[in-house]
Point group: D2
Chain length 427, copies 4
């Protein structure tokens, strides 16, 4: 279900004069403030976020799942949906596969198909939190941390297989998220479980091609509700440091205890040169996996403020980060939801880019707390949507992606094509 370039151009043409006026006013304002607008646009255009292959279908909770209709039935349809999102937004130029849900039958063909949509393959993700029907040993009591060496070996082998698949598609990194942990006090020897996890991770790390990176996620709880082996960034960092130079911590915004200062974690990891990437989403309670920017947009801006400033003053040579959306689309059309997330991300990026870093440094040096807040608020309160739209437009995307998506009745066509009660593989 592709959208044609011309369709986007046509749709844009209706809004072009309004947009131009808004953009010029903003351009004028920013230029007056000494900001290099063209450079900002390039930075925004360059900012690409991976879409995970599992995000194109309806998500669910333990209480049930409601179909959205027209969900992709296979990897090609998933790539096709990402291609559509990318065509509209020009900001989703990669896909992140989840194995075993998305094993390509023919890597070369899959690669070519993706390329035809302008899509490359980002980090690959392993899955040792569920049992597959053909699996010899169960992950019920853990995988890389399991007390049984055979289970650990199976989980390590799976990760190696995922690396192999990733390599065949041009991926350059593996993301490991572990559900390993315990549901009740007493169940696990924390120290031994952590030591076993480290040993397993090292084996995976050593198997990676030399230009690959390992991303280690952390999460305080869920699906285990007493402990998680990698409960926080500190634990992930310990493991990454032990694994080696190409192992990094990956931050998922929803994987924190209430009230955590995530932006400070981001900053600390950049200080160590150990921040690998991001899983974007938003949440009010736990790992709610809501649309990015739908609950705490100011926090998202503060995080981007650390990212922008930190990577600009990157004394520890932190490598470029991997960006991915990791949300669950329980009620909204996943494609619309992802478009909203992409918009929120680029908006936060743009807000961070227009922060007056010189004045901010000055205010900080003088402990002028009032002024530091004024500077952040000035950036955050500026309506930068015309800048985002201009960047998208120049890249060939739609000024108003959701309007185009709805205008072409794409979901309806997908339902027609794929059926009403499809379930995306893996969900």
């Amino acid at each position: 279900m592709a959208i044609k370039e011309q369709q986007i151009l046509d749709a844009n043409s209706e809004h072009l004069s309004g947009h131009s006026a808004e953009f010029q006013a903003l351009q004028h304002k920013l230029t007056n403030n000494g900001l290099p607008v063209e450079e900002l646009i390039e930075q925004i255009q360059a900012f690409q976020v991976a879409i995970p292959s599992w995000a194109l279908g309806a998500g669910g909770t333990r209480f049930g799942r409601f179909s959205i209709g027209g969900e992709p039935r296979n990897l090609e349809e998933k790539i096709s949906d990402v291609g559509l999102i990318h065509a509209l937004t020009q900001s989703a130029g990669s896909i992140s596969l989840h194995i075993p849900w998305d094993i390509p039958e023919n890597a070369a063909a899959t690669l070519a198909f993706a390329k035809s949509h302008g899509i490359v393959f980002d980090a690959v993700n392993s899955n040792t939190f569920q049992d597959q029907s053909d699996q010899a040993l169960s992950y019920k009591f853990g995988s890389l941390c399991h007390t049984d060496a055979d289970v650990r070996a199976q989980a390590v082998a799976h990760n190696k297989a995922v690396i192999d698949i990733g390599e065949s598609l041009g991926s350059k990194s593996l993301t490991v998220w572990l559900a390993d942990g315990s549901a009740f006090p007493g169940q696990l020897n924390f120290r031994e479980a952590l030591a076993r996890t480290l040993e397993s991770l090292k084996e995976i790390y050593n198997y990676m091609p030399s230009d690959w990176k390992l991303f280690i996620e952390y999460k305080p709880y869920e699906p285990n509700f007493y402990s998680t082996v990698i409960q926080d960034w500190g634990t992930s960092h310990l493991l990454a440091a032990e694994c080696g130079d190409r192992a990094y911590t990956l931050v998922d915004l929803g994987h924190h205890l209430p009230n955590t200062n995530i932006e400070q974690i981001v900053s600390t990891l950049i200080w160590r040169g150990k921040l690998g990437g991001f899983h974007f989403n938003d949440s009010k309670y736990g790992d709610d996996d809501l649309t990015v920017g739908s609950i705490k947009p100011y926090q998202l801006f503060l995080i981007f403020n650390e990212l922008v400033e930190g990577m600009k003053n990157n004394a520890s040579n932190n490598p470029p980060l991997a960006w991915m959306i990791d949300a669950s689309h329980n009620l909204k059309d996943p494609i619309e939801d992802l478009i909203q997330s992409l918009e929120a991300i680029r908006l936060a990026l743009a807000q961070a880019l227009v922060v007056d870093q010189v004045k901010l440094k000055q205010a900080r040096d003088q402990n002028d707390v009032t002024m530091a807040q004024e500077i952040l608020h000035d950036a955050y309160r500026t309506d930068l949507r015309p800048l985002i739209r201009e960047a998208r437009r120049r890249s060939g995307g739609a000024l108003h992606p959701i309007t185009v998506y709805r205008g072409h009745a794409i979901r309806e066509k997908l339902i027609e094509q794929r059926g009403l009660n499809t379930v995306a593989t893996g969900l």
Copy 2:
């Protein structure tokens, strides 16, 4: 899979002399403290907790589910499992059905079958948080609160049908838990949704037989992650007060924001005569649905302390409460898990019963904070397990239920009988 009385007696006989010594020592100690041991035992014996019909199978999370094997395949097998638990513990004399998962084909036969296990039917539970395959309208966007009157009518009709089924089995109450809410800011007009919910609840309330009670649960989040229509006890209480005298608030221990003082909520509701019942479980993070007493046993004791004291000084004529376990058995054998929960509940009850209420009142009157704590700790730190065991033994239960359960390899026999990969209906 029944266990025979004689088997329990045989098992007990091995431990009897040890138990007797321990019990007598405790009896001596309690009597010295002026406590009426025989009366305590009777109160403990009388304390019966309902087992929900969905609790006999393995639970799961949105990330997956691991089979336990030998799970009940139908209502009879569920009743049979409850009967087994009751035989062992003599504290689970009722079952709470969930409709439509457990519609009896023949109510009279089901009643008779349950009776043969010593089991009666507690509150019935409706389900408007999932769509059933034969359902005309979807609950994706709510049920009793839905913007569409037809969906509300369907949900009300379902609740009425549940009442009818309950009546045919001798139930005397309906528990309504609503997943209704919103996933994102803006989605719902809070006021209007609440007003519609009240209207729907009134219709259900008015349909109930005159000796029935309506229990209204509250929950701050999940499966909706921005808002829940009945988010807290205050909202439930408003609705119950508007519905009428036989509408009450039901407290589920896991349905609270972090750090909530639940015991105070319990106390306030008793003060208003509006506490209807309890769903027991334990949690560290959210609605984790862990074994009762596995995470915060002291809080459980404090809650029972309010219940015991409040019902003893029941100025508002709060009716007797409905007790149910509502946990999810993701890793443990559900039967073992429930036995552990029942033990924790009775232990907390016993601890509350031995609190020196006279001295506590005195300490409170004098604002003697140290002494108030000493009094609670004295009750809590006393090992009352011999008292619990004696109560169980006298009722015909096992001194050590899990030992008996394992000794007879009951799970293995259930697996043999029912199969390894059964999924309990509804899960």
Copy 3:
């Protein structure tokens, strides 16, 4: 330390052409969207927030307090500071007194002095959370809930005295915030404490003049760290309902457990016609008392969205609300901090006023979750600062209040006048 009208006009003149251009562009945009700009400006101008008398000095924590210098030494200087803030912002036209910190020696003179600054007297606040040196009985173990009837009588008498003082100054409401609660399990009989509190509140309520309102605050914890007698809105609402028609719940944004959906509480209280007023501040962890809008500005907008929509569709005749800032200025100059808070409040109000309520209703009726979010985001992301500034300018305030405040070196002059180590009475 007053600022003269002409000084503000002079300061504005420098920024006027830039402001006019920005305002006209915004005006154009809003008008195109069908919004009545002049009406919006009037609504914003009319929105006045009370400044509490204790907010003009440096706040502190249990770990210490750092002076800001030039803090007001008496009630007149406090009124003078509020007058200054009001002159600059035209949005702080009232002061809320805290008794016994601010007992006027001569009410008529105080009234006249306030009037000369354009300031009226908002709700009066009683204090039964500290002992005063001349106090007969201690509030160590509570006040309105105390076990000792004499302490309760003293606390009630104090509240009556506060009402008398308020009456002499033209106040029309009393705000009661109770620290009453318990530090340890067992200390308090929750039910009895609540019953005693109700009895005390009724006596205070009945003493109020017939055109007064009683505002009952709630708070889950601090300074008591186990329980607070009025722990949540539900408890406050119970008490207000029992007291009578002119008793209302007051919401302080910082008085909630982690992750509470405050906007829904606001909505529910308006539904009942029982929302009395607001204490504005912001927080990340607990009752942090930070500058309004400094941590969760989107939540503030969502709250205003409920307030605006709720009061427009006010079926229960909720009376107009009392607005107050209740923050602590530990590091920032209090005057600058309050100016930032006032700006954030009016910005959130303006954002709520430009929400397209017609389209929002439509989206809700159709359960179009994506569109509901788009509508809110469109309002929130629009830069409405020119509108706020225009409203302020028209009222005679400064386009850039902090710039004017700093430009005139007012803090330095206050320090010269009042000294460097003053401590505002009461702090």
Copy 4:
């Protein structure tokens, strides 16, 4: 205000026969379970907890403070109070000084005085979270992290002075708790603040005598309510690792976000050989500083379970830990409060010591979650108070310390001696 050995013996004699019976029954039971009772008693006797010098007076909150009366007026009286507690409990054999509140005028005399009470000097604590009247530069905007090198130098010099004082008293470690952080987004450059903090800590570390240890505390918030420079164990661990082998993380139970799994942090730090010590207290909401074991006694047990098991299998040679109570006594008599804390600590220790580690290991190896819980519960539910009392009695302490304390009307005598409105130095 010393209590004489004979007075304790006399008091014990009244309870001795009852105690002996209870102890023998427990001894019998434990011996039957294969536990070495005499060895347990020795381990309990050896477990000594430091009392901080600031803990002997009434604490307070930002809302006020209520006197307890008879509070120590100087260091000698503080030592005397600790001596009293130690005489009664035989478990508080050391004091932890806070500088500048407790600078000894004559170290030799202070040492001798302490010795006469059986008290030694534990870790010394520096204070850079408050300004002292004679201080050149302010810590308002931080100390070791300050942007101004002169402030950092002052704070480092203070820490060195604290080490000097400690050395003169026989202390062997310095505990650094920093309030450094920020109250608002933007105020601080996180990375630079952390780098400056590390630099300052290294200077302090290098100044320490070669047999000293440096303990680095962490805390997520308060008194700064947006960020703390050392926000979590991960950050503390980074700093400690960079400082050197004798730098360790110190865990204060109250310094965590809601729901944190503290026992797992403890375990991880032991795994790294980097756990330095503990500050005991309890809390329901934040850093509530309540009596140890008063809110979450089971969590305390779980923590001790990690400590006992971890130090027994100490592959990383984690050194012996420093134990201290760090609570605030807002309502209770501090001496009674500390006695209750000491009791709770030893009880949790004893519970951990009787955990059947062999069976637990077995259950874990088999992923027998039910049994792992049974094993922990069996230890936790056993009433080990007779064991604690026996250990105390054998060391010369009171069977019932609070009863003796009250029986001798010690607080009343202290009030007589010291006055009713004393304020302990530093508070």
